[in-house]
Symmetry: C2
Amino acid sequence: MPTISDVAAKAGVSAATVSRVLRGKPQVAASTRQRVLTAAEELGYSPSRAAQSLALGRSSSIGVVAPLADSPSVAERLGGLTARLGASDYDLTLFGINTSTERVDLLAELADPGRIGAVVLISLRPTPDEVEALAAAGVPTVVIDANVPSLDCVYIDDGEGGRLAARTLLASGHRRIAFVGDVADSEFGFTSSEDRRIAFEDVLATATVQIPDEYLKRRPHGADEAKLATFELLDLAEPPTAIFAASDVQASGVLEAAHERGVDVPGDLSVIGFDDIRSARGMGLTTIRQPLEESGAYGAKLVLEALEHRPIGMSIELPLSLVSRRSTAPPRTTA
Amino acid sequence: MPTISDVAAKAGVSAATVSRVLRGKPQVAASTRQRVLTAAEELGYSPSRAAQSLALGRSSSIGVVAPLADSPSVAERLGGLTARLGASDYDLTLFGINTSTERVDLLAELADPGRIGAVVLISLRPTPDEVEALAAAGVPTVVIDANVPSLDCVYIDDGEGGRLAARTLLASGHRRIAFVGDVADSEFGFTSSEDRRIAFEDVLATATVQIPDEYLKRRPHGADEAKLATFELLDLAEPPTAIFAASDVQASGVLEAAHERGVDVPGDLSVIGFDDIRSARGMGLTTIRQPLEESGAYGAKLVLEALEHRPIGMSIELPLSLVSRRSTAPPRTTA
DNA sequence: TTGAAAGCGTTACCAC
DNA sequence: GTGGTAACGCTTTCAA
């Protein structure tokens, strides 16, 4: 591997000059600049990232922290992120999170510009302490899928999503409506599911429909858990005619349960999800769509800008929309 | 951030000794070792990766190269990889690939131990030149989802998968059988789809069933493309009673097309996929299962071992199995 | 068993 | 404009 001195020698200048040229510093004669550029080109020179990080005191990789396990939505966001970041000079270092304790250790470790140049959190809400540590260390931080006050964020209005779902179900005449979502105290400080539920119930209330306790299922995130919860719902003396699932992953469990019980969707049961993950189409799932891949792309845009010394605090709210497919219809017997 | 000299000072030794202790070198007195360890602990010291890479001439991050776009199977493999790698001392640097030209530039750049300690390729077959470059640079390489002679690989027997699919369809009585897979000349040198098809046709031939040309659909990878191809199939004067899709993503397109045309699955059309991606369950798709997540875990195991100076050439073949769900059944009119 | 010092490849400050 | 040089934090060889 050629080093900067190889280039310097070949161009007949000092290493300092090569560095200046390559970093785009102004104080250098046009002729020398040209000479250096061709020398570098001919040698196929590319600066050592390790040496650069060391000298600069700042790593050129962007740390992406995300709960990867069983999460198509996170995967889609990550896809959008890599697409944009691939074209940049930054490397993307991926940290998969599985337990919450893993998380706190990791974020503390990442609060060091020499370790990681910037961090982007996907579907993870940092604690105030963590935010503080990152800020103190001078590590730009952006959050995708959560709105954290002092940070750059890409987020959606969960309440609005919940209301959209409620209006949809109400409009087609449902009144016996159940909810399947995440446990309230999610391991990662994640509140989307609850935010959606609360707004959902609010709208329902305006139409004087109320979700009875036995229609409220909060489970650890996952298709299997949602499936089990749905069995309970279906086994009720008076089962719901519609279910709002807080995520498409959970909606898939709901659909599966209905199928296994021989319950016709949407004839006997309407199902509406949230996210519009790629496989929602194949499932024919009606859902509240949020731009998953785009959220990653915007996240990338924000980090890159933050790294370019843009003042922080630049958040982006993404739009929501209803995608109607074949899992919803009016209830068979309009109550 | 504390440096090695801070630890040295606190322990009353030299930096060299601290380094020896931390790297587990033998020549150091038990008492000093203990002193150093506690000093490091108290300071919360953690060595700078950049400095380490520079001094060692070897990066402590593992580069993972994968075609991320729209590929649930790749995402699942990646999940298995991060789970295992997260516990190691190595960072995982992710490179998403979108076009084949991107690929060649990247692999050339990665053939440098100072840049990346090892590389793992997911669903990507390196050219002999690329293999050569990586080997010459002394960068351990493992491949997931392809069997490349001189490299550590985690792979499956695509032919066996094709045969399994064929036997399944034949056993339930189908004779008008179509195939929907990838274009032969895949951008990334990827031959799985064709390998599956060839073996599939071989088995069919033993039962004297042949796939007519108009039953053979090779399209760019994707659900939409597969859907369009399926419309063509369904519009034929004599449409097939069964379709083998070379991947679950394509199978999902097939299912969708059938649904839109009002073709009953599995009554009028049986569909069998390949992979068993997470959403296959929700779709009720019968498929040839390969252990996706495990392939990532094994890949991680192999890189880690390779980094520990294990001799290379240690490949792992993963088992295939048939997962029967509700997308297959005997044809309505047994020919 | 331990320390001093050189070296890894860059960048940036200070002279010229 | 350009070059010399110290410094970034660590590992390792060589002496002691």
